[in-house]
């Protein structure tokens, strides 16, 4: 194994040994994760699931513990008008938060529940299990429409590299409804390695929208495990704009008939950024549907990665699975790597995936130019149109507006 990855892994294991007595919750769960992490280490590009994403930069950074107290109130940045929960350096800040009425919020530090879905075979999830200190557990009772909630993660320090591993849970009981808008921002070099468990009971609808706008030197790793019961819906969207290296990994499992999973996303990258969206949608029940539309806009020397797997179990007849991954390369030095996969064991299914890679269409550009639209604006229009298909399912007007403004800003300030 690569020596720097081994050293990086050893540093985390040493930190765990040092903190072991002080971390909340069941030590046996953490020990099991530590054993798994010790064996596999930080994933290398030799691991099939990580073949396009290198964590060397992460391994070679000497991350410290976050400070225990927040000195000054951080700038929250733009959000939407909705109740909010704020985490600073991965720790829940009740003083800055305005929990909504319909949602029970329990900090992980008070009630360290690790969930039942996260899989320590995912090395970064194991790392989280080993070192998680805080996070928020959200619970919505049966039949309650809890509206919209903003989950804001900030890393405002920026003076020294820190690492935090928040552990979140979102549990919707039967027929409940919730929209979570998760925003991550920060400054300087830090590692934000979050794990989220989302449990959607029968008939419940969880809308999970994410804006990842971490600082340009940050490492962002986000692993979500979602389980959807009969007639439930997990509707997720992720917009990746920030971080030096970002990996968004979503494992969604449909366990009851007529469930629905939407995993849409867009990555807009520049500079030397590396963005990776990896999804696994497992159809374990009949008559379920899944839809994925992922768009990549890559400029400069950036590199976009999409890996998406649809698994259809033998029992999951009448599955309707669809996945589309498209990439626009705006520069001769940008790179896209994609690996869409189908793994199908049932015969009465409709599954398809598609992938396209190319640059902006010269003819479309010419059409706009010939109608007097300046080049830069024409390109902006075409990029917006390219992203529209992935954005369209976002029904929440506030969230949609926020994401669109973020995209606009990215386009204007792109190097």
């Amino acid at each position: 194994m690569n020596q720097s990855l081994r050293n990086g892994a050893d540093a985390y294991l040493a930190r765990y040994q040092g903190l072991r007595g002080r971390l909340p919750g069941d030590a046996a769960i953490r020990d099991a994760a530590a054993a798994a992490f010790s064996e596999g280490g930080l994933p290398s590009m030799r691991d099939e699931d990580w073949r396009y994403t290198s964590l060397r930069g992460l391994a070679e950074t000497d991350f410290q513990e976050p400070l225990s107290a927040v000195s000054t109130a951080p700038i929250l940045g733009e959000a939407i008008d909705a109740p909010r929960l704020v985490l600073v350096d991965g720790r829940y800040q009740p003083g800055l938060s305005t929990p909504p009425a319909g949602v029970t919020v329990t900090p992980f530090s008070e009630n360290p529940y690790f969930g039942r879905l996260p899989d320590i075979k995912c090395p970064m999830a194991a790392l989280n299990t080993m070192l998680a200190e805080d996070g928020v557990q959200l619970h919505v009772a049966a039949g309650v429409d809890a509206g919209t909630l903003v989950l804001l993660s900030l890393a405002p320090d920026g003076h020294r590299p820190i690492a935090f591993h928040p552990r979140h849970g979102i549990h919707l009981e039967a027929g409940a409804k919730l929209t979570v808008l998760e925003i991550s921002r920060g400054q300087g070099a830090y590692l934000h390695n979050a794990v989220t468990e989302a449990v959607v009971a029968s008939g419940a609808v969880l809308t999970h929208i994410r804006l990842q706008a971490e600082g340009p030197e940050a490492f962002h790793v986000n692993t979500t495990f979602a389980e959807v019961a009969e007639r439930g819906t997990y509707d997720a969207f992720v917009l990746t704009l920030g971080a030096r290296v970002a990996r968004t990994e979503i494992h969604a499992r449909l366990i009851g008939p007529h469930g629905m999973v939407h995993l849409n996303g867009a990555q807009l990258l520049g500079g030397q950024q590396h963005g990776d969206i990896t999804t696994v949608v497992a159809h374990d029940a009949p008559n379920c549907g899944s839809r994925q539309t992922i768009k990549n806009v890559l400029s400069d020397r950036s590199r976009g990665v999409f890996q998406g797997r649809i698994e259809v179990a033998r029992v999951a007849q009448k599955t309707d699975g669809y996945q589309m991954n498209q990439a626009l390369l705006l520069s001769p030095h940008a790179e896209i790597d994609c690996k869409p996969q189908l793994e199908i064991y049932a015969d009465d299914v409709k599954c398809s995936h598609g992938a396209t890679v190319g640059e902006l269409d010269a003819e479309q550009l010419f059409y706009l130019r010939s109608r007097g639209v300046p080049d830069a604006e024409a390109r902006a229009i075409l990029v917006r149109a390219f992203l529209a298909e992935a954005m369209d399912p976002i029904a929440h007007p506030g969230a949609r507006g926020l994401l669109e403004r973020a995209i606009e800003q990215w386009w204007e300030h792109r190097p």
Binding site: E335, I344, A355, T356, E359
Partner: protein
């Protein structure tokens, strides 16, 4: 639709026939003891009377192989292979025949039985061709055949005719003696000795295979074909094929294979290297019909093959077409390295798995040169308890401006106990390149079946018809003689998968 009518007739004539190439031929053999050491490599090299450089090359490959581990990334499962429990050399005892007349009559009879008469027929044999049940175009006068039996080539037909136009078509062991400069120049340049585990093994112990050289500007006057037959027990077949098309040359090459039905598994690890220079075109068609094992997955060939083409010249073109119906396990990715400006790579594949067969197959298209183009059409059909995986790579390197790829992968599932998987890798580092990938998975639609049934077709015939329609895009790429055989094979492979 004559082809479709043909299929229906064939399905009817072949009901319940199963694998009909599974007989064994009793021929006196010269077999090397089991096991693999440097001595085995030296022994093979000595048997072939090879020059020192080739022995060194083999030994280097063997050293590389010993240092490697067997790959396990493919979606196939099998018990560990004991590489020391295989005969690496098996050849008929009679001395190498000087001409077709010297070939052991037993062998000739076997090839007749397989439907591959090794006679150079002067008369037009179109009528006979259509009815034969072999895999290769049945004594057609337009096909020259190299017959490889276990470890050696036993006969090559039409050599004189080919020689007149300057085409070299002979066993590779003979090419090593007769045309060492060509072999030395190209051998291992497309698939290096340490390329992968099975290629390294092949490089160390390869015994025979075909060698083709088409000189500048020559259009090969007939189809070339190699017929591989594994006959000996507990042996492996490790053949090596090298085809070179010089500037402006054209050639179409066919490959077919069968093996006896046995309860134990046998290893077939071949390497095929193609080199296409400026404006050259190579069309390589395979109908792979190794013994697939019985309904419970006992026996069958492990087909672990490395096939790669180097499109070195500008505007060169290589087209791979494969119909994979046989083998217990198929591990095979015919690839194109598109180096020459404007070079073209094509991959058309039908892979059928039934019973407990496992296939993990696909292609790699590496775009290096400007304006290179590639097309991938893959049709996977799974039935019974089989697993069928398409695994492919399209890589666009930074210099490949204007490169273009289109990939279409379709899977068809017959029955609810089988699996169909698609694993494409797409890597692009040039914004002017366009890459498109589409994949679908479906089953035979009830309404299609109902339509056929309502017109009086039996369920099995209807499935045969629909499957042929599903594969049409690929089958039409096959040379005429092959297409008909391939359709029959599809029908036979899927026998008993419905109802």
């Amino acid at each position: 639709m004559p082809a479709v009518t043909e299929t229906i007739d064939t399905v009817q004539s072949l009901t319940q026939s199963g694998y009909k190439w599974g007989f064994e031929t009793d021929i006196e053999m010269d077999i090397a003891p089991k096991g693999l050491t440097t001595d085995t490599v030296r022994m093979i090299s000595a048997k072939k009377g090879e020059p020192e450089w080739l022995l060194e090359w083999r030994l280097a490959a063997f050293a590389a192989w010993e240092a490697m581990v067997e790959p396990n990334w493919a979606k196939v499962g099998y018990p560990k292979i004991d590489y020391q429990d295989i005969h690496y050399y098996a050849a008929p005892k009679r001395p190498a025949p000087k001409s077709l007349d010297d070939v052991d009559p037993e062998l000739l009879a076997m090839y007749e039985k397989l439907g591959i008469p090794l006679k150079e027929r002067a008369v037009l044999a179109g009528v006979e061709g259509a009815g034969m049940e072999g895999v290769i175009g049945s004594g057609n006068p337009n096909i020259a055949i190299d017959a490889v039996f276990d470890s050696v080539s036993v006969a090559t037909t039409f050599r004189d005719t080919l020689a007149k136009s300057g085409v070299i078509f002979c066993p590779i062991s003979e090419a090593v003696r007769e045309h060492p400069e060509l072999v030395r120049k190209y051998l291992g340049t497309v698939v290096p000795v340490s390329d992968n585990y099975f290629a390294a093994l092949n490089s160390a112990v390869f015994t025979d295979g075909s060698f083709v050289f088409i000189p500048k500007g020559v259009r090969c006057p007939m189809e070339l074909s190699t017929y591989f037959r594994i006959n000996a027990k507990n042996s492996g077949q490790f053949e090596r094929t090298l085809i070179i098309a010089d500037d402006g040359a054209h050639v179409s090459y066919l490959e077919g294979c069968t093996a006896p039905m046995r309860d134990e598994n046998q290893l077939h690890a071949a390497v095929v290297e193609l080199v296409a220079l400026d404006d050259a075109q190579i069309k390589y068609s395979t109908v792979q019909n190794w013994y697939p094992g019985d309904a419970n997955g006992r026996g069958g060939i492990y087909n672990f093959v490395t096939k790669r083409a180097a499109c070195r010249g500008a505007r060169s073109k290589v087209s791979w077409t494969q119909v994979e119906t046989g083998s217990a396990i198929t591990w095979k990715y015919p690839s194109c390295i598109l180096q020459g400006e404007g070079s073209v790579g094509e991959f058309y594949s039908v892979a059928v798995t039934n019973n407990r067969q496992q296939a993990d197959t696909g292609t790699k298209m590496i775009h290096i040169g400007k304006n290179t183009r590639s097309t991938i059409v893959s049709k996977g059909i799974s039935a019974g308890r089989s697993d069928n995986t398409y695994r492919g790579l399209v890589r666009i390197l930074p210099r490949a401006s204007g490169a273009r790829n289109h990939t279409q992968c379709d899977s068809l599932l017959i029955g609810d106990q089988c699996g169909a998987h698609t694993v494409p890798y797409i890597e692009s580092r040039n914004p002017t390149a366009k890459v498109e990938h589409e994949a679908t998975t479906s089953k035979i639609a009830e309404d299609q079946l109902f339509y056929c049934r309502s017109r009086g077709l039996s369920e099995e015939d209807a499935v045969g018809l629909i499957v042929n329609g599903f594969c049409k895009e690929v089958l039409k790429e096959l040379p005429m003689e092959f297409a008909v055989e391939a359709q029959k094979l599809l029908a036979v492979s899927l026998e008993g998968s419905v109802g």
